[in-house]
């Protein structure tokens, strides 16, 4: 049932010729799709690409029928690819046309073109199988992909295409970035926005076409979108995004190819898509850029810091009258619960900012210094808002409460310079100036 260690090793090092052809092919496809997909996603055209890939089906069948009618070998891969490319482009043009001439929005235009052209393709496929000459039996392999049918020349084509898209994307990186970020600005600068858009969508069409054989037209769009989308959870710059997306696509192809080679009867395309999808879920949860865990961690840390500053300010105010703070007088400072105050106080004790004496809680020297610092920042900010930001003074305290926790040290230094340390706002308790 389970593959032996020897089998696994054999697949991993691409020992067998057929496996090698397939796995190298899907790896190259992953690179090309990852690169082009990054810009596709930034251009917000993911669904257009889906319509494009569905529109290739009538193209494949029409190409087959034409070639059979001309007495050629019906399944010449090159001919089929040309047909797929042409119809993919027609699909995109139809979407643009519908959007321009009617009041329908993008989603409706895409839905119409995708379903109608796919339906047309299915009908034509039926007609193609009825044709007396030629053998259309393998054509439906393009719908869900049939990686096992890949031969060395297919892999070579995919590798060359991957290399070319890599070069084009690198060379036109600046131009495509301008197109995706702000096309109006690009147009004013004099970039031919329409032509750049055509270049991008042509690259998408080419990648879709080379994905048909291995991944299939229904799932081809996943190769473009999923690696690029997961890369966004790891990188924040376009350059690293491109690299990460290409690597994710490449490794997804490799792992998917390996798994489908080891598990009998597992289709390669869907397995690759599942591997990429699994990586997306992992990125979505654990990615350092806006992953769920990272985001929750940041929120938790911010809340914790805000709470600490609140309790320190409360202690500072209470202890200015009496260094031994009573629990109730701390509790009265803000709207917080007893358990919350208890928890915060025990945290302060753990951090050695507070000690518990018989008469009450006392700020230690370190705690006093910290509290003074917090209060000072708070006052500086209040002063800034009152003097400079035209906010009604009675609203200032709540605002300051929120914003001071967002301020970094550099901003505080700026405020100090702005006000001068002797120009601090009047306060019931004179401030100790921290060094």
């Amino acid at each position: 049932m389970f593959p032996t260690a020897e089998q696994i090793w054999g697949v991993l090092v691409l020992e067998e010729y057929n496996t090698r052809v397939v796995i190298l092919g899907v790896m190259a496809l992953g690179v090309a799709a990852g690169l082009v997909g990054t810009f596709l996603l930034l251009r917000k055209r993911a669904l257009t690409a889906d319509a494009l890939s569905h529109a290739t089906l009538p193209g494949i069948t029409v190409a087959f029928m034409v070639m059979v009618a001309l007495g050629m070998q019906g399944k010449s891969m090159f001919g089929l690819m040309i047909g797929a490319f042409v119809f993919g482009c027609i699909g995109v043009l139809l979407i643009l046309g519908i959007r321009r001439t009617t009041k329908l929005k993008d989603d409706a235009a895409i839905g119409i073109v995708l379903s109608v052209l796919f339906g047309l393709g299915l009908c034509l496929l039926r007609l193609a199988t009825e044709m007396p000459s030629g053998n259309a039996a393998g054509l439906n392999g393009f719908i869900f992909g049939k990686a096992a049918s890949m031969v060395a020349s297919d892999t070579k084509v995919i590798a060359i295409v991957a290399l070319c898209t890599g070069i084009i994307v690198t060379v036109l990186r600046k131009e495509l970035t301008a197109l995706c970020f702000d096309e109006n600005f690009g147009a004013v600068q004099g970039w031919p926005i329409l032509r750049l858009d055509i270049v991008l969508m042509t690259l998408v069409a080419i990648v879709t076409v080379i994905a048909l054989q291995s991944v299939g037209l229904v799932l081809a769009v996943a190769m473009l979108i999923v690696p690029a989308a997961s890369a966004r959870y790891w990188c924040t710059k376009i350059g690293s995004l491109l690299v990460a997306s290409a690597i994710i696509g490449c490794l997804g192809g490799w792992l998917g190819g390996v798994v489908s080679a080891l598990v009998p009867k597992m289709p390669t395309g869907p397995v690759i898509v599942l591997v990429c999808g699994g990586w997306f879920i992992f990125s979505f949860i654990f990615g350092p850029v806006n992953g769920i865990v990272a985001r929750q961690w940041r929120i938790w840390r911010l809340n914790r810091r805000i709470e600490m500053q609140h309790i320190l300010r409360a202690m500072y105010e209470v202890s200015s009258e009496n260094p031994f703070c009573k629990f109730n007088s701390i509790l009265c400072c803000r709207s917080w619960s007893q358990t919350q105050v208890k928890r915060l106080l025990s945290r302060l004790i753990r951090q050695k900012y507070v000690t518990k004496e018989k008469e009450g809680w006392v700020l230690t020297d370190a705690g006093m210094q910290k509290a003074t610092h917090v209060v000072r920042n708070h006052r500086l900010w209040e002063a800034y808002l009152i003097n400079y930001a035209d906010i009604a003074p009675n609203h200032v305290d709540r605002d300051a409460d929120m914003i001071e926790h967002v301020l970094g040290t550099s901003m505080v230094e700026k405020l100090e310079a702005l006000l001068g340390s002797d120009n601090l706002p009047p306060s019931p308790h004179p401030l100790e100036v921290t060094s």
Binding site: L42, T177, A178, C180, N184, V188, Q189, R232, I238, A389
Partner: protein, 269 residues
């Protein structure tokens, strides 16, 4: 080079010293005209506000000048020549909402875009471009945020990044689409300072503006627009209650009717 010897393709009725000349401009979106017969000469070296109610065609006017929207009719010239020959002399600050601020780029990356055209096709960004971008960020008080992701900037900071991107282009005419819209006080001051610096360098700045209260304080010239030009000239001359009422008050029944009629006719055709 002698400026007066340059041929003005609009003919002599337009002043050759005008930075921007708009002649008989009409723009229609979806069969409904939004700008009617706009005729303007915008003098060089001035701060110019375009004011008018929502839907008056303020953004459309500057977009039409920059060839971003198709014109139904009209001629535009920048320093006496068509826009497409003068685009290197023009910088544009679009509305902040017009782009996706989640885009994976940092502040200096956006500002560097202002240099893309000078860098040219297929060439990488040079150190010089980065340096100039940094200087532009300094001018708007944003150098500390150069390597911050743009999604993490506040609205006012994003607006200043947009401004810096236009500054780095080193243009002669600046079009700004509502740069003061929902920005903080610090940003408003920074923008005003930049506008004044630009004017003292002899640049022309044309600003779509919403806040009528600051027009007198910030600008030299004002264009009062409501589908057509209601008034245009020095702020102290034309920014009057009478003209404001004409621009903002009431529906312009005649014009609206004409627009509706035209829309019906063309939909029948």
């Amino acid at each position: 080079m002698n400026m007066s010897s340059e041929t003005n393709f609009l003919g002599s009725e337009h002043s050759p010293s005008a930075a921007v000349s708009v002649h008989d401009l009409t723009v229609a979106y979806h069969r409904k005209p939004v700008l009617w017969d706009v005729d303007l000469d915008i003098p060089a070296g001035k701060l110019v506000a375009i004011v008018g109610p929502n839907g008056a065609g303020k953004s459309t006017l500057i977009k039409a000048v920059m060839d971003l929207v198709p014109k139904a009719s009209g001629l535009i010239s920048i320093y006496g020549k068509p826009f497409r020959k003068q685009r290197h002399r023009v910088a544009y600050v679009p509305q902040r909402e017009s782009v996706d601020w989640d885009f994976p780029i940092d502040a200096i990356g956006v500002v560097t875009m202002g240099r893309y055209r000078k860098v040219g096709w297929c060439r990488p960004i040079r150190t010089l471009d980065k340096k100039l971008a940094m200087e532009a960020l300094k001018r708007v008080g944003m150098e500390e945020y150069a390597h911050r992701q743009i999604s993490q900037l506040s609205g006012g900071q994003q607006q200043r990044v947009f401004l810096a991107r236009a500054l780095v282009q080193d243009a002669e005419i600046y079009f700004m689409d509502e740069p003061f819209a929902s920005v903080d006080a610090a940003t408003e001051r920074a923008i005003v300072q930049v506008l004044r610096d630009l004017r003292s360098l002899g640049k022309t700045v044309i600003v779509v503006h919403h806040d009528l209260q600051t027009v007198t304080e910030y600008f030299d010239h004002v264009i009062m627009l409501n589908m057509r030009v209601v008034a245009h000239g020095m702020v102290q001359d034309v920014f009057t209650n009478e003209n404001l009422r004409k621009t903002y008050g009431g529906r312009l029944t005649l014009l609206d009717e004409a627009a509706g009629l035209l829309a019906r006719q063309s939909s029948k055709a």
